[in-house]
Amino acid sequence: MIKHFLNNDKVFDTIVNIFVFCILVFTLYPIYFVLIASFSDPAMVANGDIILYPKGINVEGFSYILKDIRIWRGYYNTFMYTFFGTLLALLITIPAGYALSRKDLKGKKIIMLFMVITMYFNGGLIPTYLVVKSLGLIDTPYVLIILGSFSVFNLIITRTYYISTLPLELQEAAEIDGCTIPKYFMVVVVPLSKPIIAIMALYYAVSHWNSFFNALIYVNNIRLYPLQLILRDILITGQTVDVTTTDPEVVERLKRIAQTIKYGVIIVSSLPVLVMYPFVQKYFVKGVMIGSLKQ
């Protein structure tokens, strides 16, 4: 009976649409709720009056957040780590990916093996910590720029991109014309690499922006904290914003709107990603597609 029912394509289409609609609503709602709760009346949010749309518009939470120097500093630090980290990552990944895509590179297999091994084995937390320590990188901004500036997974995507897009004839034609490899790379390969450079830049930038673990392990100085560590203090450990104040009235007020501040912090910290996301989404998807070509 049920089987017969499902075999009807019209019934099937309706069921598909209902399911997809439910998934859409369930995924969108938490994000939407955080947004409306961040500028609604804190008391109404606490009472459960805010479910579907914002009420009692109130930006007090945001005004405290914007006054908090830690958030600004965290933002600045994260921006710097992300910018330089991504730049370094591109300088390492793109040339390496290109070189390893060339058929005429001798010892390519050994180099790839050398790299792939690191995807399955690692020294673990403490041995890595000892290396970073012996390099004198603990409590420096450099450790957060350097760590995560190369990923074998991204290298494989880059290499696959070059293998599947750069025709061998192009390279041979350039060689006949007496073009050297560095010149060929700069004049021919790089201009043809715009899509993969965009994909890699986004992949590395997002992972730097969201990175939390390295800062937790290697940085103790609060002035070097990236945004994510500040966010942990506010969202998870439950510190209030503007911890320097001693005015009891302000402290009391802050306690009352603590939840609203959390909603606001989520919005403020995710803003760059949220704004950029719809425009760059297709690049991320493209990266997955290239990555799946050779698995």
Partner: protein, 323 residues
């Protein structure tokens, strides 16, 4: 006669010499032309040597009593002392159960969902609706773990919106965040929520790669959509499914540190303490470097053995393997 013979030998010797010279010339020409390519790869290799291979060498402190003043090489060997201490410790069983529970539960719950989502999206006729849903379901992948865990705490807390909705519907509030028995469900299902869209991309790609002629033939034979899913789409994307299953199974012991660590509190610790968070606490917080390394190494070895095992089973059953 003999004169001729000598001549032949001579030319042979000359040939060999010539060949060698040619080979050497070839190598020199190759190096002259291509050395720059090795320079291209060099930074990546240096990075891996410093941050992956040297730490691998440093793993030996798992079998030593590491003291900073003596260095890695100078510290005395103690054999399996630390591993045995870990096996004998009262946390061992609980840590192992917690780690395996999160990962197996996560694999079983999280693996089929992206496939189902991909099929649903693939059969959504309205392209705009499909595109919108894709964009929205990919989005949680880009939320940082810290913000995501913060959202879990706020939205599922006692005053959180989900409890308020539960109350409006006339049920009692659920203490999601303070009962250890809920921890695994929350951990796993929020993970499913975060990753399902992103993981579905690969299946959507596989589905759009199915030969349309097979579908046309099936339609002519009178197959309904659901029959086509079962008999055409599913077999076509099965290799993709199996490869991803193997790769996921190989990661079974590497349950994310960040999320478990951030969701931990004193109330749920009995279910939320996993090997990686314990390694962090023992190593970084209490400074027992050797002991912590030994636990991490144990975790790594189990992980690798699982990968090999799953790959072998899959090769036997389906002839598909990662290597």
């Amino acid at each position: 006669m003999s004169h001729l013979k000598i001549g032949k030998e001579n030319t042979l010797a000359v040939n060999i010499l010539n060949n060698r010279a040619k080979k050497r010339k070839k190598i020199i020409a190759y190096i002259r032309k291509s050395w720059i390519l090795y320079l291209f790869v060099l930074p990546a290799i240096v990075y891996l040597i410093i941050f992956n291979y040297i730490p691998m060498y440093g793993v030996q402190i798992a079998f030593k009593d590491y003291r900073a003043s003596l260095g890695i090489l100078g510290s005395p060997w103690v054999g399996l002392k630390h591993i045995i201490t870990f096996f004998d410790s009262y946390q061992f069983v609980q840590l192992l159960i917690n780690t395996l529970a999160l990962s197996f539960y996560g694999l079983i719950a999280g693996f089929p969902v992206p496939i189902i989502l991909a099929l649903l999206l693939h059969y959504t006729k309205n392209q705009r609706f499909k595109k919108l849903t894709q964009m929205v379901t990919y989005a949680p992948h880009f939320i940082s773990t810290v913000v995501f865990c913060g959202m879990i705490f706020i939205l599922l807390g006692n005053e959180g919106v989900y409890n308020q909705i539960i109350e409006i519907l006339g049920f009692d509030k659920i203490k999601f965040m303070s009962k250890p028995e809920y921890f695994r469900h929350i951990y796993v299902w929020t993970d499913v929520f975060k990753g399902m869209g992103w993981s579905s991309i690969i299946y959507i790609a596989a589905l759009s790669g199915v030969d349309p002629q097979i579908h046309e033939a099936a339609i002519i034979d009178g197959a309904s959509k659901i029959q086509r899913i079962i008999h055409v789409d599913f077999p076509s994307i099965l290799p993709t499914i199996i490869i991803l299953l193997i790769l996921n199974a190989g990661r079974i012991m590497s349950v994310g540190f960040e999320k478990a660590f951030l969701l931990q509190n004193n109330l749920n610790l009995e279910h939320s303490e996993i090997i990686s968070t314990y390694v962090y606490k023992v190593g970084i917080q209490s400074g027992q470097f050797s002991y912590s390394t030994a636990i991490g190494l144990f975790n790594n070895i189990i992980n690798f053995l699982l990968l090999i095992l799953v790959n072998k089973i899959s090769k036997k059953i389906t002839n598909i393997g990662v290597w």
